[in-house]
């Protein structure tokens, strides 16, 4: 079962501070596009990496972009600097990024993120405006297409009944 939000719950339970970004943030904002992974932005300090290891330890996390699917529990060695993590687990795929193109690092993203209630807790989620900027900054065809849908969603939100 690939309940991607359960991966978010695991990180939150482990005390990892993160912002939900990418296509899954798009889903939260109302996108109809389906994504197979969940992307978050977090500080990849040695302390946080250990917390993430603990959060995913029992669901077989591996570096999915390595030829031999190296275990995240064993690689990289403690103290080795990390920029991004692209992981596959038994519960789904999760990417953990230390910065977002077009926006900046975790601190900057966090300042501009919105807090949304989900399943009894509050998650920081990239704002739809920043998500559009990020998608357009990446510039791949699929991201530019997603940005068009997000722009339409932002526009439609302005048309919703006023209170």
């Amino acid at each position: 079962m690939h309940n991607l939000h359960q991966l978010l719950n695991r990180l939150a339970d482990a005390g990892v501070d993160f912002v939900v970004v990418g296509g899954f943030a798009g889903v939260i904002h109302g996108s109809a596009l389906v994504t197979q992974d969940v992307d978050v932005c977090a500080v990849l300090s040695a302390e946080n990496v250990e917390k993430i290891r603990g959060a995913l330890a029992d669901i077989n996390p591996v570096h999915r972009q390595t030829h031999r699917l190296l275990s995240f529990l064993e690689h990289p060695a403690p103290g080795q600097a990390l920029v991004n993590l692209y992981l596959k687990t038994d519960r789904g795929v999760i990417d953990i990024l230390s910065s977002i193109l077009g926006i900046g690092d975790y601190e900057r993203l966090r300042q501009r993120a919105i807090s949304l209630p989900l399943f009894g807790r509050t998650f920081a989620v990239i704002s739809i405006e920043d998500l559009i900027v990020a998608k357009e900054a990446v510039g791949r065809e699929k991201d530019l297409l997603a940005a068009k849908e997000l722009r339409a969603i932002a526009a439609k939100r302005n048309l919703r009944p006023a209170d």
Binding site: H2, A32, E149, K156, N158
Partner: protein
């Protein structure tokens, strides 16, 4: 019920998405859901898509031609 006036920019963004092929009635349905409902609906759709992909992979694995022995 009061609807805010549609700005030209709004109309443009919706039209651009429509012309790109998006069925914006799906977006309307999503916007009517709570955040949790959007996540749960996405999970159900993803699960179904992955099951279909697995079934397709199994089908093509079964029907793949067997290589002739080398002479």
């Amino acid at each position: 019920m009061i609807l805010r006036r549609m700005e030209p920019q709004t109309e443009s963004a919706v039209e651009v998405a429509r012309q790109a092929g998006f069925d914006l009635s799906l977006v309307d349905l999503n916007l009517a859901l709570s955040y949790e409902e959007r996540v749960l609906q996405h999970a159900a759709v993803l699960e179904f898509a992955l099951e279909l992909a697995a079934a397709g992979a199994a089908f093509y694995a079964q029907s793949a031609p067997v290589a002739e022995p080398t002479r």
